[in-house]
Assembly symmetry: C6
Homo-oligomer: 91 residues x 6
């Protein structure tokens, strides 16, 4: 099982509440990376809100190296933000 | 219902006033993310000001994984700005 | 009427003076966003200096979602600079 | 032997633990660059979790200059984060 | 006349001296933008060192909106660096 | 002679030592730019470690404006890092 960038839960995508992003603070770099992945997914889900459509697109991008690289770039951009927010988890 | 990156309201797109972007400050990270989405939409609406055209383009990009990923990248870039403006919503 | 990214005024594009960019400081976030749009246009006009050619290209990119998204990304990058220059218009 | 951006170990890709990213701190710039490469790989592995699929895609992107350049861009983005985290390894 | 991103002078492109980039400091934002354009050109000239080839490629990218937008993005990235170096030309 | 982004020396690409990146500090902006070019090349060489393959790809990307622009973007991203590391070579 893995995290599909285009498959954030639809209910969450429509939620007006802050439940999916209560804070940018995380305990560890690893959790910060997971948050960056989540933010990337939300960026997609905000535009394509139909979870069914996102699911159907998955085989296409998951087998396309350039799509995967582009997704990795988005994650990297969000990770910059999360890492800065956490002062890079310096001791 | 969802937010279409290419479908910001036309009236707003042409507004000279500051009504659509009074401040970069938001109460929560979640509102900051929503603002990043809005800024991404405005970047598109500034170039393609015809809301009807933007609406017609929607089926095209909403079903194209690479377009969705690219949109997510723009949102990520604006979210960096909004998060920094809010000092990452640190306590 | 809208701002065409590829259609900055030719005279300006060739101007050696500082008239088109006297400062990065703006009164409001909205004006800062407008400046980011202007900077994006100038980046194009610096390469394609013929305003007539830029005008001819317009129908092409204005109807292409991926071009519009790419333009929005350039604006986002410049907005980072302008927002930082203005210390995010914090009170 | 080389590091394949699309071929991070599957077991690692699914690990919930912090074992693969204990810290952003490295002893040297060279190690920081290696970490940036690893982060880029993880961004891909998070989406395409099947190591076998990633392996199959390799010949495609490894021979495509534009894919290689795009990968280099992702690494550059992560290297910004890692370098900042380490205060640029200044003495 | 305009600045061709792919047509930095060949002699300069091969120069080992610091003559083409003595400093990131500029008097004005406008000069800073011009430096960003120059840096973008150098990035290209470092890879394609043959000025004749760069000149031949010009009609291709100068009439391609997506190429022009991509060039504008590179300039925006360098302008971030130059603007930060000059502390945004604040008074 | 010029620097081929895809042709970093194979021996270097496989080196585990810090010899190719002892520091991000440079004497001048010009040397910093050269380091940014080197980092861009390393990002490619980390993925495509076969110098022979990289050499074969060269004619393809060196004659493709969009590839050249993309390379320039990667260099710009690394130059941001190197420039910040050197505090922009301010006096």
């Amino acid at each position: 099982m893995g995290a599909a960038v285009l498959s954030a839960d639809e209910h969450e995508g429509q939620a007006a509440s802050d439940s999916w992003l209560p804070s940018l603070m995380t305990e560890t770099p690893r959790e910060g990376f997971a948050l960056a992945v989540k933010l990337s997914q939300k960026g997609v889900a905000t535009t394509q809100t139909d979870a069914e459509v996102r699911k159907e697109l998955r085989p296409e991008y998951a087998a396309d190296p350039n799509s995967l690289i582009a997704i990795s770039h988005v994650i990297a951009t969000h990770f910059q933000t999360v890492a800065a927010a956490n002062d890079y988890w310096r001791e």
